[in-house]
Amino acid sequence: MTPLAQYKPIARQLVTMIAVMLAFAASEALAHAIGGRDAAFVAATRGPAPGPFLYLGAKHMVTGYDHLLFLFGVIFFLTRFRDVVLYVTLFSLGHSITLLSGVLIGFGLDSYLVDAAIGLSVVYKAFDNVGGFEQTVGFRPGPRLIVFGFGLIHGLGLATKLEQLGLNPQGLLVNLVSFNVGVEFGQVAALTVLLALIAMWRRTRLFNTTAVAANFAIMTAGFVLMGLQLAGYVWGPAL
């Protein structure tokens, strides 16, 4: 075996990783927030408006690549449907707790730092998926507990976005719960697509050779999200 030959698998993974990353590249540019007309609507709403908030919650999840990337990582190696349900329920439980309490109590956390932590959750899950913890420290933190914990952080992200919009106290609880239910609907919709894609992917011979690379591509995207948010924390809002 030549000295270079041992690097061949790494090189192959790298090339695949870059290819998968290009697929993510297009959507990486912007921080994920509620914006434009939606933000104006939220700020102007007084009293309960369950329909619109349901829609906004679903839209926020379906268009929220930070949440979707994490979910993608979570379900990546789940082959049994009941495991998918279990993990997604744990995630939903986590983010519902902090979404509701975050807005009602108002933790006043910096949204950039919360979003950077969400980026970290993406990195963590990708590292976990490739067996990173067992292979480096010989111990893998319980994935169920972890997905619940990161669910709490993702919920804080949702809460800080809503808080920034200055929700009116009138009808707050109804609107908040509607938004949360919308988030779950959006999550189911997004998961249906993600699961179908993974199932198709898993059935191909390509899966075994691309799975590791795909997770490192997800990890890269997580690092980019972290950098983007930390830059926002240091320099103020992106324009």
Partner: protein, 212 residues
């Protein structure tokens, strides 16, 4: 401990660490070459300028109307009076390299005025010559103030401008007709010219100053 959500054959420890480093390196490259220049106007490595991505960043515009109210009918200025003629050549409207358009502005302090008169020769149809008369502040900061005075097609315009704020005030000219054209712009008032290459005179046009 649960066994679900695990990879069947994890890569070797060294592979994982190497690929993690690669992921960090790729993320840093994406951040410094693309995301930070485009989103935050921060380009410490110069990569954003190199790829042109830095141009995506534009300061937030704060538009104000061009009208000044309550200005006294008679005003005197500490800036010396000057008068210039600027000749501008524009390529055919078919030019895809941007040779058919140009910005020319001069610097005015708030409240200072100039009288202007420009006309274009060579256009086949006055409707095929477009101008935007506008002004804005020059800033590397987060926002700039913009005033739009007039957007129109036509082969000439005359008038007077009193600057609503200190900044650069002038024209965007665009030739849409087939022949190349020549614009003759006359200015007189209390302005200063912008050195070649700086905002407002990116093409480095020279002005012929008339004897005071």
């Amino acid at each position: 401990m649960s066994t679900e959500a695990e990879i069947a054959a994890p890569p070797a420890r060294r592979t994982i660490l190497l690929l993690t480093l690669c992921a960090v390196a790729a993320a840093l490259l994406i951040l410094f070459a693309a995301v930070l220049p485009a989103e935050y106007n921060r380009d410490p490595t110069g990569l954003g300028r190199l790829t042109g991505i830095a141009r995506l960043w534009a300061p937030e515009e704060q538009k104000i109307g061009g009208a000044i109210t309550g200005a006294p009918a008679s005003r005197s200025y500490p800036v010396p009076f000057r008068s210039d003629i600027v000749e501008i050549q524009l390529a055919t409207g078919d030019d895809t390299n941007g040779g058919n358009e140009l910005e020319y502005k001069v610097h005015l302090e708030k409240g200072a005025s100039y009288v202007y008169s420009w006309s274009v020769s060579g256009v086949s149809d006055p409707e095929e010559f477009y101008t935007e008369f506008h002004g804005h502040t020059v800033t590397n900061g987060k926002s700039m103030t913009v005033a739009e005075y007039r957007k129109a097609t036509g082969a000439s315009d005359n008038g007077v401008l009193t600057a609503p704020f200190t900044g650069i005030h002038g024209w965007y000219f665009q030739n849409q007709s087939v022949p190349a054209v020549k614009i003759t712009l006359r200015l007189a008032g209390f302005y200063t010219l912008i050195p070649a290459g700086q905002p407002g005179n990116e093409k480095g046009l020279g002005a012929r100053q008339l004897a005071p």
